[in-house]
């Protein structure tokens, strides 16, 4: 019988040998790229910060709360609120529409539709994600804007006009129109990511519920959906990120009005649209103000993402599907 001492120790490998082994190379490469991503993020913040220093100093926090955006040389006042408001409102409208529809469609595709049909439909839906946003904008101008101006807007005003959210004037372009376009644009992300999440739920989970006497719907709604909730939340935030940053299509249909309006039928502006429209001809103060808006947008996206992470950690500490 071999005594423990007789067992030969594996020889310590020289660095060159380990490098040749590949593990070390892979390790160094991956850590390099990981740090690179971090550095790029830090660099972006640094640059935005440096470029917006003039307005950061000039307006301080009143920039965020300011409601007036006036680049006239004799005024030169810049406030971010109308654009933060427009960005949030259009994104929320978009999600209110695209989340229920998208998740519903994903349930149909993963739980009800036959496999082949599901694959074909998913392929088509994913094609939608590849359509350039300027095309969505054009399409909306030709179809949605007149529809909104002549039918949907007046209809909403007639029945919901007593709320502050659906009042004249009705231009056709505006928050609601932009929100609808964004809904269509976020739809493919939500459908395809949610569908993946639902399809990843093990068959045994569904069968366990059915075997206890659950109906198909109970099994889907009470077992499958909660199991897939992380993935579904992920899809929503992917959609939200897309909606917050979308520039072209929104610029074409939101009306580009620098004032805040409560009515969704009225015109507004988003951060991305404003920067795209004005940056090229921006003056000495206006330029830094626009960059500071970008910084705000960046922070908003970061905060939302962090919030999402936090929510996921909090809601999954008990009974997590991926504990």
């Amino acid at each position: 019988m071999a005594s423990p001492a007789a067992v030969t120790q594996p020889r310590k490998k020289a660095l060159s040998e380990r490098l040749r082994g590949g593990d070390m190379v892979a390790y160094l490469l991956t850590i390099f790229f990981a740090t690179l991503i971090l550095l790029v993020t830090v660099y972006i913040v640094y640059e935005l910060w440096m470029y917006s220093l003039p307005t950061l100093k000039k307006f301080g926090f009143s920039f965020i709360g300011g409601q007036i955006w006036d680049p006239n040389p004799d005024k030169n006042v810049y406030g971010a609120l109308p654009f933060i408001y427009g960005t949030l409102v259009t994104s929320i409208v978009a999600l209110l529409i695209s989340v229920p529809l998208g998740v519903g469609a994903a349930i149909y595709l993963s739980e009800l539709a036959e496999q082949k049909l599901s694959n074909i439909l998913t392929f088509l839906v994913e094609l939608l994600a590849a359509v350039p946003s300027v095309i969505y904008g054009l399409l909306a101008i030709f179809t949605l804007v007149p529809l909104m101006r002549d039918y949907i807007g007046p209809f909403l005003e007639k029945f919901l006009g007593w709320t502050p959210f659906f009042q004249s004037p009705i231009y056709g372009t505006g928050y609601l129109t932009a929100g609808l376009v964004l809904a269509v644009m976020t739809f493919p992300f939500i459908i395809s990511v949610s569908r993946e999440a639902l399809m990843a739920v093990p068959r045994e989970q569904r069968e366990a519920a059915l075997a206890l006497g659950a109906t198909q719907w109970e099994s889907t709604y009470q077992i499958v959906l909660p199991y897939a909730k992380l993935g579904i939340i992920g899809s929503v935030f992917l959609g939200l990120a897309r909606a917050l940053g979308e520039t072209m299509a929104v610029t074409m249909v939101i009306g580009n009005d620098t004032h805040i309006h409560a009515s969704l039928l009225n015109q507004g502006y988003t951060i991305a649209a404003l920067v795209a429209n004005e940056f090229n001809e921006a003056g000495d103060v206006q330029g830094p103000a626009l960059v500071e808006l970008c910084l705000v947008l960046f922070v908003m996206t970061m905060l939302i993402n962090a919030g999402a992470r936090l929510m996921i950690t909090l809601t999954t500490s008990k009974g997590s599907a991926r504990a």
Partner: protein
């Protein structure tokens, strides 16, 4: 001589609870079960053995109609529960009355408490007595003492063997008449396996048990009757003693003595 459809003589105490008559089953055009005739007696454990792919799971999954959720499947013949054709009854009622425990533990990603109470809830059996249902179900599955202090923790925090007993408790919570177990111990170590086997002895006082197993020792230990499947056919079905000591069929003998294939 025993024919494939022969059954051990009935004693009044063990009347037939469930019975399959001339069951054929198809996955698309592939016939997985050929003319199965078998019956399961009240308060008895019946084991189904046979080589991999012979149709044990397929047969078991027809007894609670879970196989009909797969596309393109077709069942011929009759399966009777207390003399009533299960295909004529409401499917959710059948599944409540015929519980199932799967090969791999599959608790829901919820707390232990919620796992147990889920079945009673959807079947409208909870009337302010949720805690009692949870406790009695866990006791029946011999899990209560191990989890009573962490009922509201994730079921995923339990060991594999505990998870499987949790799944048994979850199935028992809706008071099934029949409990189907498909290789419930195949993912468990010998100690966890022994616990579940012990459990079956007490559980059969309350319901009819059908267990699929790959372990002949397990069948010999727990089952009153044993059925031997081969290539989608029920070759022999008899008292466990007879199957293991004095089988009537050559194929059965080859299988239990390990001379198979």
């Amino acid at each position: 001589m025993a024919s494939p459809t022969s059954t051990p003589e009935a004693t009044p105490a063990h009347r037939a609870k469930m019975r399959a008559e001339n069951v054929n089953f198809f996955y698309g055009s592939f016939q997985a079960l050929h003319n199965i005739n078998i019956e399961f007696r009240e308060n008895q454990v019946t084991a189904l053995i046979g080589p991999s792919g012979c149709g044990k799971s397929t047969f078991l999954r027809n007894l609670n109609r879970i196989n009909e959720t797969l596309r393109g499947t077709r069942l011929e013949g009759q399966i009777l529960l207390d003399g009533e054709d299960i295909m004529q009854e409401d499917v959710t009622t059948i599944r409540r009355r015929v519980g199932m425990v799967f090969q791999r533990p599959n608790p829901f990603p919820k707390s232990i408490f919620e796992n147990i109470i889920y079945g009673p809830k959807i079947n409208g059996m909870v009337k302010g007595n949720a805690s009692e249902i949870v406790e009695s179900s866990l006791r029946r599955a011999a899990l209560w003492d191990e989890v009573k202090d962490k009922l509201h923790e994730s079921a995923y925090a339990l060991s594999g063997g505990q998870q499987q007993r949790l799944c048994i408790a979850r199935g028992l919570a809706v008071n099934p008449d029949v409990l189907l177990l498909d290789e419930p111990c195949s993912a468990l170590d010998p100690i966890a396996t022994a616990k579940i086997e012990d459990l079956l002895f007490t559980l059969k006082e309350q319901c009819t048990i059908v267990i699929v197993t790959h372990s002949m020792q397990q069948a010999a230990r727990v089952a009153d009757q044993t059925g031997f499947f081969l290539l989608g056919k029920l070759i022999e079905f008899d008292k466990t003693d007879i199957i293991f000591k004095n089988p009537a069929k050559r194929e059965t003998e080859d299988y239990i003595t390990g001379r198979f294939g």
